[in-house]
């Protein structure tokens, strides 16, 4: 059930998917790995949409050089833990949801427990080793992984449903070298917003997900396109795996 305040808050989107759709968002728990460039728009949009429980994990402190893109953090937050800053902003954006902000490095030893019973994982990381770890947990738990990556004016996104679609290792078997990547804030703004849009559609069980497709954004050309991607039968992460759960949350 919704309070008067919630009904008013979500009025304009309940015109799209009704109280039932809103209830689906409210009951959901989404895990966001990273409170940086991608994690900012993802968490902001999921919070204001009314995703009931958001867990957001980051190990960093806000640096002045983050502020050109990490819109969850303000100038006054420089030197604060990103999780403290994120929790404060998200709670102010929507006091009717639960925000768990966890200040820890996502590692082999803690990833399964951190993700817990979340309904989906959003990849807002800045490196492939951690992404592969999220991919493994998504496969083990049979929950979707909403992938995004950015560099400069370029970005990519895809939605991974383990056992159904290619996993991250099918698409990108080898990590590129680490680098201090150039970036302008609009790029994670665009890609993170696409990831949040995917999460909302997944939770609602409606629309066409970005599955089996790698969305590629070229901000310089203002051009988006997609490449078809396929499962790798020899994938070291997901080969032989078949989904046992109903992938779509549709209840037609």
């Amino acid at each position: 059930m919704f309070s008067e305040r919630e009904l008013e808050r979500y009025k304009r989107q309940m015109m799209l998917f009704g109280e039932e759709g809103q209830e689906r968002l409210k009951k959901a728990h989404i895990f966001i790995a990273g409170a940086g460039g991608l994690g900012s728009p993802i968490s902001i949009y999921l919070a204001v949409a009314g995703v009931g429980t958001i867990t957001i994990v980051d190990m960093d402190v806000v640096d002045q050089s983050n502020l050109n893109r990490q819109i969850l953090h303000f100038d006054r937050d420089v030197g604060r833990k990103k999780t403290a800053s994120a929790e404060e902003k998200l709670r102010e954006l929507n006091p009717d949801i639960t925000v768990n902000a966890i200040d820890v490095k996502i590692e082999d030893s803690n990833a399964v427990n951190l993700i817990g019973k979340a309904d989906g994982i959003v990849d807002a990381m800045d490196n492939y080793p951690t992404r592969y770890l999220l991919n493994d947990v998504a496969i083990a738990k049979e929950i979707p992984l909403f992938h995004g990556g950015i560099r400069g004016f370029y970005g990519q996104a895809t939605t991974i449903i383990p056992g159904i679609t290619p996993c991250l290792k099918c698409i990108f078997p080898k990590a590129p070298p680490r680098e201090v990547f150039p970036v302008v804030g609009v790029t994670p703004g665009i890609i993170g917003t696409i990831q949040a849009n995917e999460v909302i559609k997944y939770l609602l069980g409606s629309g066409e997900l970005l599955t089996n497709r790698l969305f590629i954004w070229d901000g310089m050309e203002a051009h988006a396109e997609e490449l078809c991607v396929e499962r790798n039968p020899a994938c070291e992460a997901c080969s032989g795996m078949t989904a046992t759960k109903n992938p779509a949350r549709k209840t037609k």
Partner: protein, 107 residues
């Protein structure tokens, strides 16, 4: 697939054109939608190597110093994945559309 460029000129009997699409960093360094003539028997790797050599930084982004694709580079031909190990012996033929891109890693 669109082939705006192909019909612009009369085609020779055995002329073959392929289109190469680079993405992200590779696109910054080498451009994209490169339509080029290829000789019969041209292989995937040698074609990309020829194109990439126009810019040393572009070449270094895609190939290691032994002339092998960096292991993270993704290769596709007509929407199908080509393994790096197979690229040197994968021929390209008229009308092929080739995509070469790196995983984008930032967040």
């Amino acid at each position: 697939m669109q082939w705006h460029d192909r019909n612009k000129k009369p085609r020779e009997e055995d002329e073959m054109t392929v289109k190469i699409r680079f993405f992200a960093r590779f696109r910054e360094l080498l451009g994209t939608d490169i339509v080029t003539d290829v000789a019969p028997g041209t292989m995937f790797t040698s074609l990309i190597m020829t194109i990439a050599q126009k810019n040393p930084a572009g070449y270094a982004a895609i190939f290691d110093d032994k002339g092998t694709f960096h292991e993270f580079v993704i290769l596709m031909k007509n929407g199908k994945r080509i393994e790096i190990a197979d690229a040197a012996k994968t021929p390209v033929v008229d009308g092929d559309e080739i995509a070469v891109f790196p995983p984008v890693a930032g967040g």
